[in-house]
């Protein structure tokens, strides 16, 4: 059955199946009690990181622009959704319904911030774009650190100086307390919701790639001058990819924040380190390879925990594994190995796909010839 489908459809089904199988395996392990508390606590962040990696891959791999501020959009989503949930903790009784609304609000707000930042940033290219997104990511994090938000019988109060400046009535409740952040967010996230959100993210990104808009975005990545010459509006499609990517990061933020009792915008959570970590997932998973992003996110999140047994050498082994993963991903020998024994090949029983192999060999030949011609 898998053989007769289009290559892209087959590859997408493998990706969905991989996530679902991983979910079932994890759920079975958890219910039989063979997973440590530590790993159990990592399950929701794992889903959030996977969503972040997939969404950043849309910007870096599909649109082809290096963004270093992805954690900023996550930060927006996390704070907006957590504030919403805390404000409505009593007025919306149904936990799931409240969480779904919070996620939608997170996605919309992160998307709007994405568009606002995208307007100036997407005029730039390459290194410059990376530097400016890095700056915006830090700005968002630092703005979150000075926001005070409170609710009382008169409504919502807001200031950026200190909590006592909110001038609330005696029944007032502080929602966001500056650098201390949000405490007491309802604990609505769980592994199942996380996996469902990851599947939705995959659905959106993979379907986008295999549609008219996705082709336009990839055309811009490969050659913007040619894309323009055949009538593709560069600004529109760059903005589309960037804002969808930001929206999905907002969703990941909502998932992340509803898993924590205390949410503060530290540099570990939402700063530069986080953005780089997401980028590492994307790069090691293979730029433009959606399935790889998820695998890399899972491996690199679990690895430090699994290596606790060899505590002293933990970071040493982690670094060596990063290098090994990189070699497996991009060295010619690694690529060859995957072509022969990868998941796609194993399901495709007819052995190596000859047309494609022939194509690759030709590529080397043609690239050389092409250079001479131009």
């Amino acid at each position: 059955m898998l053989k007769n489908m289009k290559k892209s459809t087959r590859s997408n089904i493998i990706t969905y199946a991989m996530v679902i199988v991983a979910y079932i395996v994890m759920q079975t392990l958890v219910s039989t009690g063979s997973v440590t508390n530590l790993i159990q606590g990592l399950l929701v962040p794992l889903c959030a990181y996977s969503i972040l990696a997939v969404s950043l891959n849309l910007t870096v791999g599909i649109l082809g622009e290096l963004s270093l501020g992805h954690a900023g959009f996550m930060c927006v989503g996390a704070f907006v959704s957590a504030a919403f949930s805390k404000i409505n903790a009593t007025s919306i009784e149904n936990d799931l319904l409240r969480f779904i609304i919070a996620i939608i609000i997170a996605a919309v707000c992160a998307g709007i911030v994405g568009i606002l930042i995208g307007i100036p940033v997407l005029r730039l290219k390459g290194d410059y774009l990376a530097i400016v997104t890095l700056a915006f990511g830090e700005i968002i994090k630092n703005v979150m650190n000075v926001i005070y938000l409170g609710v009382d019988s008169k409504g919502i109060h807001f200031c950026i100086t200190k909590a006592s400046d909110l001038n609330m009535e005696s029944d007032g409740k502080i929602i966001i307390n500056g650098a201390t952040g949000i405490t007491g967010t309802p604990h609505s996230s769980n592994f199942t919701i996380g996996v469902i959100l990851l599947l939705i993210t995959l659905f959106i990104v993979l379907n986008l790639i295999n549609s008219r808009s996705g082709r336009a975005i990839m055309a811009i990545r490969d050659n913007s001058i040619a894309a323009e010459s055949i009538g593709i509006d560069l600004t529109k499609y760059k903005m589309l990819a960037f804002s969808i990517s930001a929206m999905l990061a907002g969703v990941a933020g909502a998932l992340y924040s509803h898993n924590l009792s205390t949410l503060a915008a530290t540099s570990k959570n939402f700063g530069y380190n986080m953005s780089i970590m997401i980028l590492v997932f994307v790069v090691l998973g293979g730029i433009g390879n959606i399935r790889g992003s998820i695998i890399a996110a899972i491996i690199l999140t679990l690895l430090p925990e699994l290596l606790r047994a060899v505590n002293d050498y933990r970071m040493l082994i982690y670094a060596i594994l990063l290098i090994a993963l990189m070699l497996f991903n991009s060295s010619p020998a690694g690529i060859n190995f995957r072509e022969k024994y990868g998941i796609g090949r194993l399901l495709h029983k007819n052995g190596p796909d000859l047309s494609e192999t022939a194509g690759t060999q030709r590529a080397h030949h043609v690239e050389g010839a092409g250079k001479k011609g131009v």
């Binding site: 549609s211 008219r212 808009s213 055309a219 323009e228």
Partner: protein, 252 residues
């Protein structure tokens, strides 16, 4: 009426007058050649016509519509498609997808329809596949439709670029040195293809070329550009025997 009418086109880059007082009129269905020594301003004329540069002065009329100063996307929608001197394909997309991007504005279902796979998606994608495949057949590329564009041999990449340009259903096709880097056999085949495209699609074609065999073989009329100015214009045979033209190419 002429499909393309250019009057007094000119552009200056700082003190350099790259194109000056350029006039050109092409009839529908004509195969027109633009030749001239290196640096004469031929590609600049193409860039002016496709909105890459904004002309300093002059008017460009396409099929009765003034397209002067419009941007590249608008000009493509108005009906000019081009290929490039150095091939510009979407290297990482498949051959079929390269042509399908050319159909971008013809089957314009929205992003939401694409993401949520609403009924319009399947219908439009099927029509796009059919149309793209029929274009690939014309250029004998249908066998390689699933190859990555960068894996095609050089000659076929040139053909694919032409197929992609034709997918936008232009009124006028601009070819920038289509035979560059081709051997005599490939050039001969290319001449057949260009003629075939003109007849099959009833296309008007303006091409820049250095290969005089190709120019004299297929172009009906020529303009010769030298130092940004038109040296001579007319039927191919006359122009190529003009002593001024020979002097511009070979020197005194």
């Amino acid at each position: 009426m002429a499909i393309l009418d250019i009057k007094n086109l000119g552009i200056s880059f700082g003190g350099l007058r790259a194109v000056d007082n350029f006039n050109l009129s092409i009839e529908k269905g004509e195969l027109y050649g633009l030749i001239g020594p290196n640096g004469a301003g031929k590609t600049t004329v193409f860039n002016l016509m496709t909105g890459v540069y904004k002309p300093s002065d002059g008017i460009i009329m396409l099929d009765g519509e003034n397209i002067t100063g419009k941007n590249t996307v608008e000009i493509n929608k108005a009906g000019i498609a081009r290929t490039f001197q150095n091939i510009r394909l979407f290297k990482n997309l498949s051959v079929l997808d390269n042509v399908k991007t050319g159909l971008h504005n013809e089957f314009a279902y929205s992003t939401a329809v694409g993401i949520f796979r609403l009924p319009g998606y399947f219908k439009d994608e099927r029509l796009m596949d059919e149309k793209a495949l029929s274009l690939l057949k014309v250029f004998d590329l249908d066998g390689e439709k699933d190859y990555k564009a960068s894996n095609l041999p050089y000659g076929k990449q040139r053909k694919l670029e032409m197929a992609r340009a034709l997918a936008t259903s232009p009124k006028l096709l601009l070819l920038d040195e289509p035979a560059a880097g081709m051997n005599p056999n490939e050039t001969k085949e290319l001449m057949e293809t260009i003629k075939f495209v003109r007849d099959e699609f009833d296309m008007t074609i303006l091409l820049i070329e250095h290969d005089m065999r190709l120019v004299s073989g297929i172009c009906e009329r020529l303009s010769v550009l030298n130092f940004g100015q038109v040296l001579c214009q007319g039927p191919t045979g006359e122009v190529l025997n003009n002593p001024e033209v020979i002097k511009a190419y070979l020197g005194d």
